[in-house]
Amino acid sequence: MKLSRNFVSDYVDLSKIDTKTLAEKMVFAGNEYEEISKISPASGLVVGKVLECEMHPESTKLHICKIDLGDSIKQIICGAPNIEKGQKVIVARVGAKLPGGEIKKAKLAGMESEGMVCSLAELGLDSKYVTEEDKKGIHVLEEDAEVGSDALAYLGLDDEYIDFELTSNRADLMSVLGMAYEIGAILNEKVKTPKVQLKETKENICDSYKLSVQTKKCPIYLGKLVHNVTIKESPKWMKERLMASGMRPINNVVDISNYVMLEYGQPLHFFDADKLGNHVIVRNAKEKETLQTLDTQERVLDKNDIVIANEEGPVCLAGVMGGMNTEVEMDTKNIFIEAAIFDSYSIRTTSKKILKSEASIRYEKGIDPNRTKLAIERAAYLLQEYAGGTVTKGILTHDEADHKEKVISITLEKINQVLGMEISKKDVKDIFTRLGFQVDMKGTEFIVTVPTRRLDISIKEDLIEEVGRIYGYDHVKGHLPLLNVKRGGRSEIANYVLELKHRLASLGLTEVITYSLGTKEESNSFTHFESEDITLLEPLSEDKKVMRKSLIPSLLKVFEYNLARKNKDVFIYEAGSIYYKKEGKVKEEKKISGLLYGTYLTNDWKKEKLDVDFYLVKGILENVFHYMGFTNRYEWKENTIIKELHPGRSVQILVDGKVVGYMGQVHPNISKKEVYVFELSVEELMNHSVRMLKFKEVPKYPSIQKDLAFVMKKDMTSKTVMDILKHVGGKMLNSIDVFDVYVGENVKEDEKSIAYSLTFQDPTRTLTDEEVMVTFKKMIEEVEKKTSARVRDK
């Protein structure tokens, strides 16, 4: 909402305050602004009179003019084709500041020029305010312009405006009058109301017109007639105020309709009464009904739209745009003024479909039912004064609206309790009065009557806010609340995720955060379970359409992004949710996933480096599992489920025999690089309880170490052997490790040799070599019996 200072000054006295200070005060009453500006930012302009005007002898375009600037006569060279002797023009003196720069003394085609004769465009006016005629040359002023006076002031272009960014609840501030009340409350100034003095004819509109309102979506419909208008240019002051309010002046009739809307916040529509006919119908549009609107477009309507119609069909799309068939044109003589209130929700839907206009914005926010009549009369008055119209008596009326003012009672105690302030009874009463609310006292209670323009106020708390914002929140002294002492904390799952995140970070992985939305394909890769997609009804783009079911595709994107930027080692993880539907129900599950690529440890000059491979990722995850309390409880099983992983280099991860996630190299079909990923389900991990930490005696009896190597087929897993060794070793076998994997000489081509190192220990006594040997031999026997592996000689 652009508020013209000149406009609002009609209704509230601003003589004691400058625009910037006013705007700042408005901010602290809750009304932010974007900018303070002027219609024209130029300065140093005067009204000049062209005393002489002759063509330059050596130019076909330039005129040599002698111009009277009031205090002096200057020679100015002017290239405009329409300059003539005797005209009053806008002159930028030497030193004047225009949007194009400062005016300096100059020589044009050898002639001295002390200033510039200006067009409107040169004043920095928005091109929508400049007529075609004005675009061609300089602007010629009317005869009443006083030579030597400020040209911008004469044109009214020195008006300042504040462009407010209003909150959606303050419908009342969508009008100059509403602004006047707000400013009045802040500055403690009285508000004046617009002038209406009608000289009406004897006949009454109600005698010749019929109104049929056939919809519930129109609580008020008023119509008034004005005959014999003359369509012409609006007076200067009206054009100026429209421009300062951001509206383009068109002609007096259209401008009056806009002017009154700005004044009262009540949109009006003017019909050519002769085209409208004398039966006005307000109804819901019929399905597929059509109307050619003022922008010449053919609109197909539906039953949610409201139309104004005559007996032949629709003539106006209510609250949004008029119809071509009843348009006010240059030769229009008689005008039917409409002032109505339409259902805000319906207008919102229609305007979303067709067009957001100044009128529809106001309808959406809501209209004061007590202004409709004031506005229609004001419009009739202005047509009478500035378009020479004759106003017909009476108002064609349909009115089912509630015009009652709301009465809310509130105690001083409640106000001060909520605001945490100590405002006196007198101050509170004063604030309500300044806001134009009527206040009566009943004991300690304020009985407040709220004018209908304040649609946003309906409960106690609304009044508390009014008191707070006018009194000033800078009076609130902050202190911490006196509440019961209680322990705060995160949920168990939040703590769990936090632990995982920080562990991965300390293992050298960097956390990333990526988008939850992806393409349909992305959202369905790296997952393996039956589920339905969660798809947006209206996505912004195809690549942000479906909620992801795995974090890995996002991590791969981050990987590609970083690789393209020469970040050659990528060690990242993300903790986030995945989303899907199962049996119609929305599910969200927490995952923690990682991607590892490149070199983990490096020292170039020592030619030492540790590149990521399967076993490094496995080690990092084992570190995490140990940290989370799953020592000896996890295992790695062949992956047959995630198709996007390298089938020979991927595993499913199990804890206590249940799958908690997967890990492996990304399938070469997806990435040519050797990149590893993992994804763990936080909920699945949390399903496995972890014992509390407890002290355990460090073993004090010596251990016995034995080494053992088996030759086996290459496709046999080490785990097969290890499982048997563990089983036979029982409690006596403290730990088992692989210390060598060998292929090559002395081992057949399809075979490998794996060497294990076994540690035997009993926490309660010293083991004898003999008893260890018994178990050791049994181990060999069992492995050889149950598998094709053979113990390696030596």
């Binding site: 929700y345 919102r348 904390g489 995160r490 949920s491 970070a505 956390e511 996505p539 000059w605 020592k606």
Partner: protein, 348 residues
Amino acid sequence: MKEKMELLKKELKEKLESVSDLKTLNELKTTYLGKKGPIGELSSMMGSLSIEEKKNFGKALNDLKTEVTALLEDVRVSLEEKELNRKLESEKIDVTLPSTKVRVGGVHPITRVIEEVEDLFISMGYDVVEGPEVEEDLYNFEKLNLPKGHPARDSQDSFYITNELLLRTQTSAVQARTMEANKEKGPIRMICPGKTYRRDNDDATHSHQFHQIEGLVVDENVSLADLKGTLEVFAKKMFGETREVRFRPSFFPFTEPSIEVDVSCFKCGGEGCSLCKGTGWIEILGSGMVHPNVLRDCGYDPEKYTGFAFGIGPERVAMLKYGINDIRNFYTDDLRFLNDFNRTEGGK
């Protein structure tokens, strides 16, 4: 006899001067202290002495032994020291050569802000609560005093999945859920961090996905002064001890009164600079007193309970705190950007 002993010592001292390794020293030791050595020879002469002489001679012999041992020991110590120094010298490395690079990981700057805020509020007795990101219209809007068709919904263009299901546009949705779940138990003190989504095109200041931290206190006699005090603690923790907080009236459908909160500019200290656009203040969050309709719809009697709520934008906090000028940085995840946050701020 005495002369013999002196001579022996002198001779040993001379020999020791030229000893340069432990092996020679040990040979010398055996030579002098061994049974067949000069001291042994002397002691074998004892038998031919009288008792009185024996006594004197024995003492002198013992003294000699002690002296010889000490002389040998001194040389041993000094030799070993020399040996060690030689070893250390030979093991000396160029400490200025580059290190073996050990990876440094870290958490995302947004996580960092969220954790810092969580820890602060936990210390004041708040619970950290979570809620679903795919949310019902009921909790995201309706229970927050935003019925269908409310114009304020326009400012939060939403990603709908069905007519009743959407990606939450605000963590305020969790307010309604928490109150509803807690209504029998009474007072609430919670914050809710999480992802939120709006149908905005991504640019330097907009992101279709971003984070919020909702805060909610519901109790008897909670006031705006309590809210201000709480946010002052927050502002000082996040932006520095000398920060001040300023309230401006605003409008949010779920709070009444509604407050826009500014913090005194931490770059210029309030004098006015490019960051605060000359005003000395920076807008940081929206807040207010919980609207009675919200309390009532979620099972709390607005006559008995009041409450305050606030919504912190971790992206905004991080951008201000760390001087980041484009919100997209948080989601493109360039490791050079992220790794700048892989360190502490020295206990602050």
